[in-house]
């Protein structure tokens, strides 16, 4: 991308209530009040026609199909309205979440029940009960909907094989950590996808060399034979996680972009020096280890926040921090200073914003876009 500090989405958005309810039961016009409000904000001119279709749908499959496409359009428009340069797949509205969405499409995996991830967030954990293989396309329909409706540049996030294995009970594969070969899942999206983001939050959970070698092997197998752009997204690693990832990132074939979480670990005061931007120091490891690709730098926090926000850095609203454009700017400028080339820096949230309301998400993305503009001005 020619412009400095382009902004990208990184993962999933919260699911609107009408989308969630409509998956299991018919909707009434009352259920669509919120959808109508957002249609006006996001500029969805054919909302009334689509709402009629939704309400008239007799068959559940028809309703669900309409719902999934419509919620994808909402996600795309939200990203477009906030000014993002890359709109991904519109906030992954067609996925339960990044793990379960794939697992439900894999024969041999059985979902056992929910396990806490943090606080009141959970994931539905599965066990490999027998030899596994893909039952049906996992990302294809979503990609086709996105291609049809998106106005901006796309990126298809998929969940990486190492993470799928690490988050599952091994069961049938007990005795050895085996990488699921889910290459086919990516072949779906590869049909004209120009950029695939492989989400691998689990890497560095086991920072031992054997596991990291397994990760590299599974990555290289996943991307083999394709010529689109590939990026890795890894967030919330263990204490030395990014240091370890930095050693292995140069070994990842075709990985020209790393999207990483930093705002979570950063202070909230303004400044572009090491003292104020302590959360971004791990970027140095990647440079020291010779990684020469781009960085998607997490500049806004995506979880609950409680702490001090100095004047000028944003504000605390409920359980959220709304970072100011100036704080985003300083984080980007500091990242560029470490990397040594502002052309290699993208701005993004730390991770998907699915735990935030759409209002908060909207505000955070607007701030990110404005912060990137300020960083561009400062870099001129």
């Amino acid at each position: 991308m020619s412009k400095l500090y382009p902004v990208q989405e990184i993962g999933s958005l919260a699911k609107p209530r009408w989308r969630t309810k409509g998956l299991t039961q018919p909707l009434s016009s009352k259920d669509l009040v919120e959808a109508e409000e957002w249609a006006q904000r996001l500029g969805i001119p054919d909302f009334q026609d689509r709402a009629k279709q939704l309400l008239a749908a007799q068959e559940q499959n028809d309703r669900v199909r309409e719902l999934l496409e419509l919620s994808t359009i909402y996600g795309l428009r939200l990203f477009e309205q906030t000014g993002l340069d890359n709109v991904g797949v519109g906030g992954e509205q067609q996925r339960v979440e990044m793990y379960e969405h794939v697992i439900r499409g894999v024969e041999g995996m059985r979902v056992l029940g929910h396990v806490q991830s943090f606080d009141y967030k959970y994931f539905n954990k599965a066990v490999a009960e027998s030899k596994i293989y893909r039952k049906h396309p996992i990302y294809l329909q979503e990609f086709l909907d996105v291609k049809k409706n998106a106005k901006g540049q796309l990126k298809v996030p998929i969940t990486g094989p190492y993470t799928l294995v690490d988050w599952s009970f091994s069961g049938h594969y007990s005795g050895g950590r085996t990488s699921l070969s889910l290459k086919k899942q990516k072949q779906e999206a590869k049909r004209e996808a120009e950029w695939i983001q492989i989400d691998e939050p689990a890497i560095t959970t086991h920072p031992e060399p054997a596991d990291m070698d397994l990760f590299v092997e599974s990555w290289n197998e996943t991307v083999r034979g394709f010529n689109c752009k590939f990026s890795d997204h890894t967030c919330y690693p263990s204490e030395i996680g990014y240091k370890v990832l930095a050693q292995y990132a140069p070994k990842l074939d075709k990985c020209t972009h790393l999207a990483l979480e930093f705002a979570n670990r950063d202070g909230t005061s303004l400044g572009v020096d090491a003292k104020h931007r302590e959360g971004y120091r791990d970027l140095e490891y990647f440079i020291q280890n010779g990684y020469d690709g781009e960085f998607g730098v997490g500049v806004v926090h995506v979880h609950d926040f409680s702490g001090h926000v100095p004047p000028g850095s944003g504000k605390e609203v409920g359980r959220n921090i709304l970072e100011s454009p100036e704080l985003v700017r300083d984080r980007l400028l500091y990242a560029a200073k470490i990397v040594g080339d502002p052309a290699k820096i993208w701005a993004n949230p730390d991770c998907g914003l699915r735990t935030r309301t759409w209002d908060v998400t909207f505000a955070k993305l607007i701030s990110t876009v404005k912060g990137a503009e300020l960083a561009r001005e400062a870099s001129r």
Binding site: Q116, F118, D119, K121, K125, F169, Y236, E239, G241, R265
Partner: protein, 325 residues
Amino acid sequence: MSPKAQLGGIYPRSEQLIKLTRSYDRAKTDLDTVKKQIEQDTLELVKLQDDSGFETFSDGAFAWQDQLRPIVESLDGVTTGTRYDRWFDTNTFYKKPTIAGEIGVQAFEPKNFIRADLLPRTKGWKVTLPGPYTFSELSENLHYTSQSDLLSEVAAAEHEIIKRLKDAGVSRFQLSEPCLVYRPYREQALGKAELDNAFAALRKTVDGIQAKFSVHTYFGDATTILPDLLKLPVDTVGFDLFETDYSKLKIETTKKLALGIIDGRESNAENPKWIAETATRVSKHVIGGDVVLVPNSDLKFVPRKVADVKARALGDATRLIEEAR
């Protein structure tokens, strides 16, 4: 050998509680409804322990958001602000404590640590806390100039918390110290001086309190530090049998050994017969002390129905051993 079984740490929330907490998080359910379900989950776990013949009961810590949070919320000088960190090699996260000032203990409700109102008076009550070393290691220290100072202050604070919980009726405390045996997140190996500081902190934590204490390690091999752990003034020392190579151990002790014999990180339910046989095999390496059957770690890493099967298997195994005597 006449082993008893115990649970420890955070037990997984039921699917119903998960549903309600998610709904609460989205402001669709009120807190009272969540609290009622926490009570229900606690009572169900009490019944499970009762049915399984456990003598010391845990309340499941269903309201705890992570293993460190209730401690943090009881201390001055320590906050959790913005940062979530991974809990060892699991896909669960904890809010990283920040030590920003002098550590002190606030007035706190024992109910934040244990639901004594829901536990039977006829049984002993157990609370599991992170040991001072693990708490210190998993925190970000912005205040104390040396690790030994930090450890000493954390130990003093935990000592105070334990005293108050003891006064509230808790009879057994498990101090979990996974950081003593599992530290791939740290580059340096655990040196002797650091280990000595950790043990000194553990001594300070339990010093003078008339309660039962166990120090429990998990997620790593405890072989090398077991002799030192057995010198601590605690009545029980626990380790993770899935990580510890006991085959070369020869343990002479009067203490109890808590065998982490069901795996909190795997879904397959251990067979009671296998548990009984394994415990018997391990006990042959122990001269003098008895064994206690426990999960290797908190069971919160598996879904509730899996945990229930595992917990019942512990009780069944103790009966099999008893019958075989």
